[in-house]
């Protein structure tokens, strides 16, 4: 049964590789004229579950005290057994659906053996023979190319080991050991480092939007290995090299562009062979270097895990996951456009949204888009997006805060927008109120706060107050008043500003101008 699976994979994928190679028209790249670059990616994304893949202990953040979240299973104590966390399966199914992959009704878990101090059991549980999903794709915006996803498999993360050269000891932290990972393997469908970068960015956005992963490369919740080969256009793909441990999209691009492609081209041009090998990347030198050749590749002695029965899913279950799928980025973007938002507003909202905290176990968390959606229920979306992008985001930025730190609830913001729209406070007073509310976070409604602060727009019964402010301003600015009387219209603006300041924005500029004109008899 296992043998069938193993033999089954290879011919099919080879077929795909050739096909893709033929189908894509090669485009000359000025950086390496006369050469074509073929790139495939293996991405490991940490599953955003509260508990680990096979144990009850919690997953950990980066800054937690070492070895805090370690159960006897995580530390490979004898007598412990794995128990699959169904949340990890659900989140992987979301990712598989979002990547248009076929979910397999039967998948299974295998052990991959090697000795390393951060791998307590001496093996990693993975899905070598029968992965949970196969055959999907990500559509790049650049050139409308589809990058095919070969398979998605669930596996365990390792712990971390750090070597202290001074004391000559290695420290082991098992907080991460046993955290669920999705390994997402692409076909070699990318033809430039820029396409590879876009593939990763899209993958990050997709995984985040469905709540499957943080997808954060800097924090290590998304890591990638890159397969690179070069060939003359029209020829078969060259021998590939794998570059491991790239810790950011930038360094991936640098590794390919500045080093690996030219290394391989110069080998071929000098009549030498590119050897299939695994390479590392030295960021300081911007150079890849050999880690091990194919001949030195370890034999992982894959074996079906006898403690884990096959994972059997039924259509009903899969459909249930599909029916509760959060919106994907492309869909969100289309929807926002259809609500009348400009390209720019949509981009701003979605960029801010991408920075939201991804909740555990598929809880989506409040992002900028959800905030916008809640606010635009019963309100003009264009007015709402203006308040969010111009006023709220602007003031947050001035305070050096991110959207995640926004203390103003949907109810408060909605109330504020309504106050301005209904003329109960002026636009200027509304902005003042917003600033006040950001400085003094509370749950008090905006209308109540506006009243307490005396920011309500001046009513017609209060016209004497406006007259007083105008007179006060005229008296305080005698030369400007004189000039105005003589017909200098520009100087009136100065007087209007003065009145506005005195009124703390409770009157709008037009009304002030009218009142001043009456008093100055112009």
């Amino acid at each position: 049964m296992f043998a069938c699976r193993r033999r089954g994979f290879l011919p099919r994928s080879l077929h795909h590789v050739r096909l893709a190679h033929i189908v894509r028209v090669s485009k000359e790249d000025v950086r390496w004229p006369g050469w074509e670059v073929v790139i495939g990616l293996e991405v490991h994304a940490q599953i955003k579950s509260r508990a680990k893949l096979f144990s009850v202990s919690r997953t950990s953040g980066l800054l937690e005290e070492p070895n805090k979240h370690v159960s006897p299973f995580d530390a490979a104590f004898p007598g412990t057994l794995p128990k699959l966390n169904p949340k990890c399966v659900d989140l992987t199914l979301r990712a598989a659906t979002a990547l248009n992959a076929d979910v397999q009704l039967r998948s299974s878990f295998d052990r991959k053996h090697y000795f390393y101090a951060d791998l307590p059991m001496g093996y990693q549980i993975t899905q070598h023979y029968a992965p949970i999903a196969t055959g999907g794709y990500v559509r790049l915006h650049r050139g409308g190319v589809n990058v095919r996803v070969k398979q998605i498999q669930i596996e365990q993360d390792t712990g971390k080991s750090t070597f202290d050269p001074r004391r000559r000891v290695s420290s082991i932290d098992l907080n991460r050991a046993g955290t669920g990972l999705m390994e997402i393997v692409s076909e070699p469908d990318m033809r430039s480092p820029e396409e590879a970068a876009e593939y990763i960015r899209l993958l990050q956005a997709i995984l985040r939007s469905v709540g499957s992963s943080d997808g954060n490369m800097e924090q290590g919740s998304l890591r990638c290995d890159v397969n690179v080969s070069v060939n003359r256009p029209g020829d078969a793909p060259g021998t590939r090299c794998e570059i491991k441990n790239l810790n950011g999209i930038k360094s991936m691009q640098v590794a390919i562009t500045a080093s690996e492609v030219f290394r391989q081209i110069s080998l071929v041009e000098n009549g030498e062979l590119v050897r299939q090998e695994t390479r590392g990347f030295d960021e300081a030198k911007a150079e890849t270097f050999s880690l091990r050749s194919k001949e030195d590749a370890p034999d992982y002695r894959y074996m079906p895990d006898p403690n884990l029965p096959p994972l059997l899913l039924d259509e009903t279950y899969i459909n249930q996951i599909r029916s509760k799928m959060p919106e994907l980025p492309d869909t969100t973007s289309l929807r926002l456009h259809s609500q009348g938002l400009t390209q720019r507003d949509t981009e701003v909202l979605m960029t801010v949204d991408a920075g939201r905290e991804v909740g555990f176990d598929g809880e989506l968390g409040q992002g900028a888009v959800a905030y916008f959606d809640a606010l635009s229920r019963g309100r003009d979306p264009k007015v709402v997006v203006n308040w969010i992008t111009h006023e709220l985001l602007g003031q947050l930025a001035a305070r050096n805060q991110s959207f995640n730190e926004n203390s103003i609830s949907v109810e408060q913001m909605g109330d504020l927008i309504d106050l301005v729209q209904n003329g109960i406070v002026t636009g200027t007073a509304g902005k003042t109120l917003l600033r006040h509310m950001l400085s003094n976070p509370s749950s008090v409604l905006s209308s109540v706060q506006a009243k307490d602060l005396g920011l309500l727009a001046l009513q017609s019964s209060e016209s004497s107050e406006l007259e007083n402010w105008c007179k006060e301003s005229i008296a305080a600015m005698p030369s400007e008043s004189e000039a105005a009387r003589k017909g200098n219209k520009n100087v009136v603006n100065k007087l209007v500003g003065r009145v506005m300041k005195l009124s703390r924005g409770r009157v709008d500029a037009g009304t002030v101008r009218q009142a001043l004109e009456v008093l100055l008899k112009i």
């Binding site: 104590f77 004898p78 007598g79 057994l81 794995p82 000795f115 307590p120 074996m303 029965p309």
Partner: protein, 526 residues
């Protein structure tokens, strides 16, 4: 209960035996037996030093009864070392589910019993604590008990079998991967049950070969084994290989249905007993055959039908078993690296520390005994890319054939391999179902072999494995199998008979075992 000490066993034993304060359950016959017989049998490697244990035990069917636990089943209050150098001083942070269930039922965990290292062996000679000596002494022998003939207690659960046989506990838990409960039971003259795979939780049982490992029960009487079985046969969600409650219920119902049709005075009319011809291999000693023949004719006279059957895949079972068991062992034992717990051997100064495996090698070379190292190496080879298809996959195919052999032979359907839609059609009385209810065959190819002095090569290494021919097929198929004493061989040493049933028919195996026991009792009285 408190742990004796985390001192090495040898020191502990001396202290336990001479200490005046060491008087658990003083006066009980079990305790007296421990004091007088443990030293000579080497059955217990750790003993609880609790005073008057029953007072601390919960109320329940086992209230205050002392139960011994094999040294590869985790206990939070006593060390668990698998009788291995690599786990010296190791105490688990938790109790195995089976230990928990025994305590809840009022049982008193009296100590940990000697075994072959990680359960690998058939004679209980591969132990860091030294071999277990069979407590049996033929009635014809006139030597003082302490000077009795030194024979093996069998393995790997030799300490558990010896502890029961010597009256040091009410019952004992062992583990059975390829016969490790049934063989020692046979050699020591006690009852030993390997339940159906998945019926008893493996949480807390230190893995040798996960797909084969079963917790087994040893006691003097079948009814005692049954008592313990009823306490342990509970679904445990911590073990994903545990049989689901629905499979248990289905198996129970088809099994009871079949038993309900047995009639007659001895209630054996309608019971069909298969005698598989492949279980009489050439190395089988004629001495074990006489008691078996007597038993079969008694069963027949009580109304049971004896049916000669054939399980043609049996000759391949032994190789398949060793490939699977060793492959899984090589994987399971990878964790003993000296980093987190257990023994650690520091690499000597100047060692090459660049590769992790080279650092671990020092601990693993010193910590593991010879037999364990041998099996790890065999298993590692079987899993390498070049050998995988010819060894591991081939062994899995054989395993499937073995299961099919059994399913064809039994009248009762295997609820795990039969679609549930087909089950209601099953009719135990139907003339077309010509299968058998249980199989009966010799448990061992001989009586307990003498313990050879250390390092002597009196027996060829392969002979040790030949014995397993009679026990591994039931392990590969996950079937319930029980060894029941049927008398003595010509040398006066105990002989056991094996009763094997369809998956989930543990109750039937126990019931037939009880009949066997009754017949043997009767024969003794005459």
């Amino acid at each position: 209960m408190s742990v004796c000490a985390r001192a090495p066993f040898r020191g502990l034993l001396k202290k336990s035996a001479t200490s005046r304060t060491f008087s658990p359950n003083a006066g009980s016959t079990y305790q007296q037996a421990i004091e007088s017989k443990n030293k000579s049998t080497n059955a217990f490697v750790y003993l609880s030093n609790s005073d008057t244990p029953p007072a601390q035990c919960s109320e329940g069917p086992l209230h205050g009864l002392p139960i011994a636990i094999k040294d590869n089943i985790c206990t939070a209050e006593l060390p668990t070392t698998c009788s291995s150098g690599v786990l010296q001083e190791f105490t688990s942070p938790f109790d195995a589910t089976v230990v928990e269930l025994l305590k809840q039922a009022g049982g008193f965990i009296t100590g940990k019993t000697n075994c072959d290292e990680f359960g690998m062996g058939s004679l209980n000679t591969h132990s860091i604590y030294g071999p277990v000596v069979n407590p049996f002494q033929p009635s014809s022998s006139t030597a003082p008990w302490d000077d009795r003939e030194r024979r093996s207690a069998g393995g790997s659960s030799g300490g558990s079998a010896a502890a029961v046989a010597a009256g040091m506990c009410y019952a004992a838990l062992g583990t059975d991967t390829g016969g490790s409960v049934r063989l020692p039971a046979s050699y020591c003259g006690v009852v030993g049950l390997k339940p159906s795979y998945g019926i008893v939780s493996r949480w807390g049982v230190i893995s040798y070969s996960d797909s084969l490992d079963c917790v087994g029960i040893l006691a003097k009487r079948v009814s005692d084994v049954g008592n313990i079985f009823n306490i342990l046969a509970k679904y445990d969600e911590k073990d994903l290989t545990a049989a689901r409650p629905c499979s248990r219920r289905k198996a129970e119902s088809v099994c009871r249905e079949a038993m309900d049709r047995w009639k007659g005075k001895g209630k054996l009319k309608g019971l069909r007993i298969g005698v598989p011809k492949e279980y009489f291999p050439s190395p089988l000693s004629p001495t074990v055959l006489a008691p078996l023949r007597t038993l079969l004719s008694s069963l027949s006279s009580l109304g049971a039908t004896l049916v000669p059957v054939s399980l043609p895949a049996t000759p391949y079972a032994l190789s398949a078993y060793y490939v699977i068991a060793c492959a899984e062992a090589s994987s399971n034992l990878g964790r003993y690296d000296g980093v987190r717990y257990g023994t650690r051997v520091e690499p000597p100064p100047g060692s090459d520390l660049r590769r992790t495996a080279d650092v671990y090698a020092h601990t693993r070379t010193k910590g593991f005994g010879r037999e364990v190292q041998k099996r790890i190496l065999l298993g590692t080879y079987a899993l390498t890319a070049d050998a995988f298809d010819n060894y591991f996959l081939q062994a899995q195919r054989v395993r499937k054939l073995i299961k099919q052999d059994f399913d064809k032979t039994f009248k009762i359907p295997n609820v795990l391999s039969t679609p549930s839609s087909l089950l209601p059609d099953f009719d135990a009385t139907s003339p077309t179902t010509s299968g058998v209810d249980v199989l009966i065959h010799p448990q061992a190819i001989r009586t307990a072999p003498p313990l050879s002095p250390p390092d002597s090569k009196s027996e060829s290494e392969l002979d040790v494995y030949v014995q397993d021919v009679l026990t591994v097929p039931a392990s590969l198929a996950g079937l319930p199998a029980m060894s029941v004493p049927v008398g003595e061989g010509e040398d006066g040493w105990p002989v056991g008979v094996s009763v094997v049933g369809q998956w989930g028919c543990d109750e039937m195996v126990l019931r037939v075992g009880e009949v066997v026991e009754g017949l043997v009792d009767e024969a003794r009285r005459c």
